[in-house]
């Protein structure tokens, strides 16, 4: 026992003696175990501070799917619309190939995440508009089919001139990819928002648009990294998406709901805030610089693309991980105010823990 502790205990004996003398009784608890007070079941502490909700049980493949799906959906829209309006056929074709490949990878990722992968077709047993998971499964299946049709038309065009089958597949594929690419690139925000997980649920209004714009930005990034660094149209889309992500990031920081703590604190907060910087101000600066630089134009565009893609990945992994942290919060589902726990911890600090 060191000197400070022994003098503390001597003082304590004096205090007990004084109380016994003055009050005729000592109103003190006995020895408290280290770590006391023990958790209780009460309206203030819930059921021994045990979490009410179950944690999400998705594997890390799911946030990866959110990324790949978000990019492919946007690539499908870019590939179809650029074919109709744009002057760069090479860019449009690349986008369509990537969309077809991406949607195929998406299906593989989702099936691999299932507890019973062999039963993946059960997803298409029913269509339930009230289930975002059901809607998403159908959208993914439809988009994959249209993206494949679109790509098949491109391949046919290189072999046969003016084939009617190719025309049919092209029209159907391009239309389908545009229509279904719209929900496909952002439905995952609805998917996680319409759950009981407080941090996701709190952002149901912004998650779909944030995930959507992040998908669009990574689509632009993928095209630029495949060599399309001269397209001004792509740069404009990238700038727009990055500007939106910046605004969304500021909006998140300005909202002070306690449900959002996992997006600002701890490892998940670090990931989401990093995502905000990598997909917001950094690509904006690089893209603007690329407009004025003659020598490093290509390099700057590539750097912006890499930043956007990594930012999008961080965003998906950050938000999914934040859901796990949020599910452990026992207070929010029980509507227990934040300060109750602070009372509890201040009570704890008053109690000297006995050791050795």
């Amino acid at each position: 026992m060191n000197e400070a502790e022994s003098s503390f205990r001597e003082n304590r004996l004096d205090e007990i003696r004084r109380q016994a003398f003055e009050l005729g009784t000592v109103q003190q608890p006995g020895i408290r175990a280290a770590g006391s007070p023990l958790p209780k079941a009460s309206p203030q502490t819930g059921y021994y501070q045990q979490p009410l909700l179950k944690e999400p049980q998705w594997t890390p493949l799911v946030p990866l799917y959110f990324f790949v799906g978000g990019a492919s959906g946007s690539l499908g829209v870019i590939g179809s619309l650029a074919d109709l309006l744009g002057d760069n056929d090479e860019l449009a074709r690349k986008a369509r190939y990537m969309a077809a490949g991406g949607s195929a990878i998406s299906s593989v990722l989702l099936i691999a995440d299932l507890g019973r992968p062999s039963r993946f077709l059960n997803m298409l047993r029913v269509f339930k508009p009230q289930s975002a998971m059901s809607v998403g499964s159908w959208v993914l299946s439809g988009f994959s089919a249209f993206a494949a049709a679109s790509t098949l038309a491109d391949i046919l065009d290189t072999q046969v001139d003016g084939s009617t089958i190719a025309t049919f597949l092209r029209t159907m594929g391009r239309t389908g990819c545009t229509v279904l690419g719209m929900p496909f690139h952002n439905y995952t925000g609805v998917l996680i928002g319409a759950t009981t997980i407080p941090v996701w649920n709190n952002r149901i209004r912004s998650l779909p648009r944030e995930f959507g714009m992040s998908g669009l930005q990574s689509a632009v990034g993928c095209l630029e990294l495949s060599g399309e660094t001269d397209s001004n149209a792509l740069n404009a889309i990238g700038l727009l998406a990055a500007a939106f992500e910046t605004w969304e990031g500021i909006e998140l920081l300005r909202t002070r709901d306690r449900e959002l703590a996992p997006t600002k604190e701890g490892p998940t907060g670090a990931l989401i805030q990093t995502a905000g910087i990598l997909s917001g101000p950094v690509p904006i600066a690089l893209r603007l610089a690329s407009l004025f630089s003659r020598k490093n134009k290509r390099r700057l565009r590539q750097a912006a693309a890499v930043s956007g893609v990594i930012g999008s990945l961080c965003l998906r992994y950050g938000w999914v991980a934040a859901g796990t942290v949020s599910a452990r919060d026992w207070k929010i589902p029980l509507n227990i105010p934040e300060d109750e726990q602070q009372l509890d911890s201040s009570h704890r600090s008053q109690t000297p823990a006995l050791s050795g």
Partner: protein, 273 residues
Amino acid sequence: MSGATDYTGIKPGEVTAFLTDSTLCIGCKACEVACKEWNGISADGYDFTGWSYDNTAALGHSTWRHVKFVEDQITPGIGGNSAQQLSWEFSSDVCKHCEVAGCLEACPTGSLVRTEFGSVYLQPDICNGCAYCVISCPFGVVQKNEDDGRAFKCTFCTDRQKAGLMPACAKACPTESIRFGRLDELQTEAQVRLATLQARGMTDAQIYDPTNTSVKGIHSMFIIRGEPETYNLPPKPEVPTIYLKDGWKSAAFEAVAMVGAVVASFLFLGRKG
């Protein structure tokens, strides 16, 4: 105690319910054991929670009944464990079989269905383990068994009910703390019981049945003493599908904005020659 006297007389098509009365529960855990034996659920292991005599901890894929131990006025240490200072409440928790069920709405395979008894049933031969129901249950009941790959929860002993028998937990309960019967009859019975308890001076007794939320009521009602938060029962549970409209609206706006941005960019900065 022969089988004949246990015949409930309830036929498929009639809505059934549990009424779990914590004022009668003695914490024997017979319901947990009966449930595991009848349904053939694996053991949970020998884990000690350390925070109370409740070592079952929570409902989950292998725990469809869970007796909660609300131990009050514990002051640990010398002189703090005297029986006079201690009050115990027990309450056997179970799947709520919601009127509007989050898990049922979320299930993309149609594995989760509404049965002929009004309960929510997970068909294990359909479930593909997507785990979306897990994060859609406002009561944290359904869970995926990582070893098996599928999600599991209380079946309301639909198999027994079809044969005119009461669920295993209700049959095993020695104090009739777990009552089983027709929903409307038990709702009346709960009110009568509550009045009796309050007349006896248990003014803190109340019925837990969140009918005023989007869950629209549950088929496993509880009579508890004190506040629902103490038992980890959410005071205002909501079915997450009520947020879908906001979500899809946001998605629709963003999708139109994306198409607009792509169209405008290619028209102004890279139009077909």
